[in-house]
C-alpha cells in the first residue's frame, strides 16, 4: 500500500523497493503574519522511533509551526506528510486522525471532571457514553501500566498534582491512538525527579513505535533526552543535527545567533535586615492555608531565591509583600518595623520595587502607551504632578529615560504597550522599578518567557541593584536561574517555607526533593 514506492515510468524495469516513510515530514513550510515571516521555508523530518528536540527562543516560530501541523493555521505554502501521506490543510480533526497528539504546556483539562471523563471527552458518541466507560477505563489502566503512566481514572483532575495532570494529557493523546507525540515545554511544571520519570516514559513510548517531538528551551535536558535536535531562529531552521554532534554551547549560539555570556554573581557580605516574615499565614476560603506559618528574611546586598513547583503558595506570598493581600496571622517586618496596613501604595512609598509574575495583567496597562505606563507608580510624586495636574514634560522625560537606559526598542509614541514583545515589556517594568531606587525588590518570575538575551539583561540589572545595596527576593520555578542568581535559596511547598541553604552548596537533586516536600538530610 502506501509503504511501497510508486516506482518510475514504464520504460525502466519496475523494481519495487520497500521504503519505510518518515513518521512526519514537513516540506518548505512558509507562513506570514502581516509583515512577519513567522516560518521561512522550513523542512523538517521526524523519523520513526526517535525524539526530535525543537529548540528556539520565544517568537522563533515553534508555536506557529506546531499550529500549522495541527491544522489551527494554514501554511501559505508547503506540505506535510504523515507516514508518507499528505495531511489535509487546516483540519485539526484530520491531524488527530493521522495520529498526531499534542501535550500543551498549559494543560487543557477540565478541573471539575474526572480523569476518565477528561480523557474520553469527545471520543465517544453521546448516546452510548455510559455504555463504554468501563472499556475506556480499562484501556486507560492498560496504557498506564504499559508506559509507567499509572493513575486512577476516577480521581478528579482538581485533586491531582501537576505531574499527574501531565500524565493525563499524555494518556489523552495515547487514548486517541497518537503515533506522533508533541510535547511543548513538558518539564516546566515538574520537579527534576518528575522530569526523570517522564523521560523514562518517553523511552518506553519510543520502544512501542511512537515518535516524539520535544519542544523546550532547557538545553541540558534536550541533550539528555533527544536523538536529533532542530533549532529555529527568527522563523528559519538554523541547525539540524544528531545529538552526538552538538554541545550546549553550540545550541545556545544557534538559538541566539551569537555567543553569549551569562552574568556572574559576586558574593557580598549581607547587610542589615530589610524584610522579615514571621509565621505568616494566609487562609483561603476554598483552599485552606495557602501560606502556612511562613518565615523568611531578606537582607541588603543579597539575592534570596525562592524555589517551588508552581501553585505552592508563591503567588500569595508575593501578594503579601506586594501589598495586595493582608495575612491572616503572623507579622511582616520591613526595615525592622512591623507593617500594619497592607496596600500597594504603602509598599511603593516604602521603596519596595515589585516585578509581578503576570506582566501583562498586573505589570502594565496594555492599552496605554509607554509614557502613561512609565508613571503608573510615580504619578503622585511631586515631580510628576502638582495639585492634581500631571506634568506632561517630566512624564515624557521619565519614559525616555527608561527607554534609553533599559534599551526598549521598537516603540511608537502612541501605540499601546501590549504590542511590545515580552522582553521589551519586562524592560519597561524593570526600568520603572529600578529608577525609583528601591531598597527591596520582589522579583516574581522576572525572566519567564523571555529570550536568552532579554533574560540575561534582567539578571544583570538585578545583580547590579544588589551591588548597590538592594535586597532581592527572587521567586522562580526555574532552578537554573535560581542557582545562577541567588546567594541563598528557600523552598516553598504547600505554603510552607524551608531554608535550603547557600546556592553554591546545593544540588539540583536535593532542591528537587525539597520541592516535592521531602526532607533531605544534610549531605
Amino acid at each position: 500500500m502506501g509503504f511501497w514506492d510508486a516506482g518510475t515510468p514504464c520504460s525502466l524495469p519496475k523494481i519495487y523497493i520497500p521504503v519505510v516513510p518518515e513518521a512526519l515530514s514537513l516540506k518548505n513550510i512558509n507562513k506570514h503574519f502581516g509583515n512577519l515571516h513567522a516560518n521561512q521555508n522550513i523542512s523538517l523530518t521526524l523519523n520513526r522511533g526517535e525524539v526530535l528536540a525543537l529548540l528556539g527562543e520565544n517568537g522563533a516560530g515553534k508555536t506557529t509551526l506546531m499550529n500549522i501541523l495541527f491544522g489551527h493555521y494554514v501554511a501559505d505554502s508547503g506540505e506535510i506528510l504523515v507516514n508518507g501521506k499528505f495531511l489535509p490543510k487546516g483540519s485539526p480533526k484530520a491531524s488527530i486522525d493521522a495520529g498526531l497528539g499534542m501535550v500543551h504546556q498549559h494543560f487543557t483539562l477540565a478541573d471539575n471532571l474526572s480523569v476518565l471523563d477528561n480523557i474520553i471527552l469527545g471520543t465517544q458518541p453521546i448516546w452510548n457514553f455510559r455504555l463504554q466507560r468501563k472499556e475506556a477505563a480499562d484501556k486507560i489502566m492498560d496504557l498506564g501500566s504499559r508506559f509507567g503512566l499509572e493513575i486512577d481514572p476516577n480521581f478528579r483532575v482538581a485533586e491531582i498534582s501537576m505531574g499527574e495532570r501531565q500524565r493525563v494529557e499524555i494518556l489523552k493523546a495515547l487514548y486517541r491512538n497518537a503515533k506522533i507525540l508533541i510535547l511543548d515545554e513538558p518539564t516546566a511544571v515538574l520537579t527534576p525527579q518528575e522530569s526523570r520519570t517522564l523521560f523514562k516514559t518517553l523511552r518506553q513510548l519510543l520502544n512501542d513505535g511512537l515518535s516524539i517531538i520535544f519542544i523546550s528551551h532547557k538545553l541540558a535536558e534536550v541533550l539528555e533526552v533527544s536523538d536529533r535536535i532542530a533549532v529555529l531562529r527568527d522563523g528559519k531552521l538554523v541547525l539540524e543535527e544528531n545529538v552526538s554532534e552538538t554541545s550546549e554551547k553550540m545550541l545556545a549560539k544557534a538559538m541566539v545567533g551569537r555567543s553569549f555570556k551569562m552574568p556572574i554573581r559576586k558574593d557580598l557580605p549581607a547587610g542589615e535586615s530589610l524584610l522579615a516574615l514571621e509565621n505568616v499565614s494566609v487562609l483561603s476560603p476554598d483552599r485552606g492555608r495557602v501560606l502556612d506559618r511562613a518565615s523568611l528574611s531578606v537582607n541588603s546586598r543579597e539575592v534570596v531565591g525562592l524555589a517551588g513547583i508552581s501553585g505552592n503558595g508563591q503567588r500569595i506570598l508575593a501578594d503579601v509583600i506586594n501589598g495586595m493581600q493582608s495575612p491572616n496571622s503572623g507579622t511582616v517586618f520591613l526595615y525592622g518595623k512591623k507593617i500594619k496596613r497592607f496596600n500597594p501604595r504603602e509598599m511603593l512609598v516604602k521603596k519596595v520595587g515589585r516585578i509581578p509574575e503576570d506582566r501583562q495583567g498586573f505589570g502594565v496597562v496594555g492599552d496605554m502607551n509607554l509614557e502613561e505606563n512609565a508613571i503608573t507608580e510615580v504619578y503622585k510624586n511631586k515631580d510628576y504632578s502638582k495639585l492634581g495636574f500631571l506634568n506632561l514634560k517630566t512624564r515624557n522625560n521619565f519614559a525616555k529615560k527608561i527607554a534609553h537606559e533599559f534599551d526598549i526598542r521598537g516603540v511608537k509614541k502612541n501605540s499601546p504597550v501590549r504590542l511590545l514583545s515580552g522582553g521589551n515589556m519586562q524592560k519597561l517594568i524593570l526600568g520603572r522599578v529600578l529608577l525609583q531606587e528601591p531598597k527591596l525588590i520582589l522579583a516574581h518570575q522576572p525572566a519567564r518567557g523571555l529570550d536568552i538575551g532579554a533574560a540575561s539583561f534582567v539578571y544583570e540589572r538585578l545583580l547590579d541593584a544588589k551591588m548597590q545595596g538592594c535586597g532581592i527576593l527572587l521567586i522562580s520555578e526555574d532552578l537554573e536561574e535560581l542557582l545562577m542568581i541567588s546567594d541563598r535559596i528557600l523552598v516553598i511547598h504547600r505554603g510552607k517555607i524551608i531554608e535550603a541553604g547557600k546556592a553554591d552548596e546545593l544540588s539540583m537533586t536535593n532542591l528537587g526533593l525539597l520541592m516535592a516536600g521531602r526532607q533531605v538530610n544534610a549531605s
Binding site: 501589598g323 495586595m324 509598599m347 511603593l348 495583567g361 498586573f362 502613561e372 507608580e377 504590542l419
Partner: protein
C-alpha cells in the same frame, strides 16, 4: 475568515471609522426608504435640508443636540473607566426634579445666585441617583448595568407620582406638569426667536473641560488606567474603588445637567415627556464618538440631525420618522464593526 490584531493603531483609521460607519448605515437604510415608496436621494436631501438647510432648522437641530451632548459626555466619562452607567435617563430626571424643587419659587431662592444653585443642585441630584448603584458595585460587585437601568424606571415612576401630587402645577389646568421655573433661572436664548439656548454653550465648554481633564489631571489618568486594567491599576497603588466612585459622581452629574438644561433652557417646566430617551441615545452618541469628549459634540450633532431631519423628511416624502431610530441604531452597529476594523485585520483565508 479570521481576525488578526493590527500591530499598530493609526490615527487616520480612527477618524475614518465613524465616517465609514455613517455612510454604510445610510446606504443600508436606503433599502427601507425604497420599500416605503420614496426616492432615496429625495428623502436624504429632505433630511439634510430639514436639519441644517435653514437657520430655523439648524437652531432646532442644535437645541436637540444640547441634551445629547450632556448625556453623551456622561456615558463617555463612565465608559472610559469601564463603568457601565446605563442610567443617564433617570439621572436626567433627577436633575430636572431638583430644578423644579429649587427653581420654581417654593424655596425662596431668587436673583443671580439661582442659576448657580440650580446648576450645582441638578449635578448633585444626578450624582446621588447614581451613588447607590456605584457603591454596591464597588463594595459587592453588583452589576451596574442592571441596577442603573432599572433605576431609570424607578425615577420615571417617582416623577410621575410627584407630578400627579405635590409638585403638580396649580396653574397647569390639571396637566401632570411641574410649575414653571422662575425667570431669573432661565437659560437665555442665543438668538431672538430661535429655540437654541445657552445650554449648548455650557455643554460645549464642559466637553472641552473634560477633554483637558482627561489628558492633564491625575484623576483623568487614573480613570483611564482603571478602565483599561483594574488589576494593573490596583497593583500600581491606585484606589480602584474610590476612582470608580468619583467617575460615577461625574457621570451622574453630567446626566443631571442634561435635565437642568432642558428645563431651564427649553421647556420651562418638568413634564413626563421631558426626555424622549436622551439618556439612552447618549450611549449611542458616546460610542459613535469613541468616548472622546470632543467627538461627543460632533456625534450629538449628527444624531440630532438625523432625528430632526427625519421629521422633515416624513412630512414631505411620507417616510415614517421612525426611520431616524433605524438610522441611529444601524450606525451604532456599523460603528462597532468599523471599530473592529481599527483594531483587527480581516483575513479571508
Amino acid at each position: 475568515m479570521r481576525l488578526e490584531p493590527r500591530t499598530e493603531v493609526s490615527l487616520s483609521r480612527f477618524i475614518f471609522a465613524p465616517i465609514v460607519a455613517v455612510i454604510t448605515s445610510l446606504l443600508l437604510c436606503s433599502g427601507l426608504i425604497i420599500w416605503s415608496g420614496a426616492s432615496v436621494l429625495e428623502a436624504y436631501w429632505m433630511m439634510l435640508t430639514g436639519s441644517i438647510g435653514s437657520a430655523f432648522a439648524l437652531a432646532e437641530t442644535l437645541s436637540r443636540a444640547t441634551p445629547l451632548i450632556f448625556t453623551g459626555l456622561a456615558a463617555a466619562v463612565a465608559f472610559r473607566a469601564r463603568f457601565w452607567n446605563i442610567g443617564a435617563e433617570g439621572q436626567l430626571y433627577a436633575g430636572a426634579l431638583m430644578v423644579t424643587f429649587l427653581g420654581t419659587g417654593d424655596m425662596n431662592i431668587h436673583g443671580i445666585l439661582l442659576p448657580t444653585i440650580l446648576f450645582i443642585g441638578s449635578f448633585t441630584a444626578g450624582s446621588l441617583w447614581l451613588f447607590v448603584p456605584s457603591l454596591i458595585k464597588v463594595k459587592f460587585q453588583v452589576d451596574e448595568v442592571v441596577t442603573t437601568l432599572l433605576l431609570n424606571f424607578v425615577m420615571l415612576l417617582l416623577v410621575s407620582l410627584l407630578l400627579e401630587g405635590p409638585l403638580k402645577d396649580p396653574m397647569g389646568l390639571g396637566w401632570p406638569q411641574g410649575a414653571p421655573v422662575l425667570e431669573s433661572a432661565e437659560l437665555p436664548r442665543l438668538f431672538q426667536g430661535l429655540r437654541v439656548h445657552a445650554g449648548l454653550i455650557i455643554a460645549i465648554i464642559l466637553a472641552i473641560v473634560i477633554w483637558q481633564f482627561q489628558i492633564r489631571t491625575t484623576l483623568g489618568y487614573e480613570m483611564k488606567a482603571v478602565g483599561f486594567s483594574r488589576d494593573a491599576s490596583q497593583f500600581a497603588g491606585m484606589r480602584v474603588g474610590k476612582i470608580l466612585l468619583i467617575t460615577a459622581f461625574v457621570s451622574g452629574g453630567l446626566a443631571g445637567l442634561a435635565g437642568y438644561s432642558e428645563v431651564t433652557g427649553l421647556k420651562g417646566n418638568l413634564t413626563l415627556d421631558l426626555s424622549p430617551g436622551f439618556g439612552y441615545t447618549g450611549i449611542v452618541v458616546a460610542m459613535l464618538a469613541q468616548l472622546h469628549p470632543l467627538g461627543v459634540v460632533g456625534s450629538a450633532f449628527f444624531v440630532a440631525c438625523i432625528f430632526v431631519g427625519a421629521d422633515a423628511m416624513s412630512r414631505s416624502v411620507g417616510v415614517p420618522n421612525y426611520i431616524a431610530d433605524v438610522v441611529v441604531a444601524s450606525s451604532l452597529l456599523c460603528m462597532l464593526v468599523s471599530m473592529l476594523q481599527v483594531k483587527y485585520r480581516i483575513r479571508w483565508k
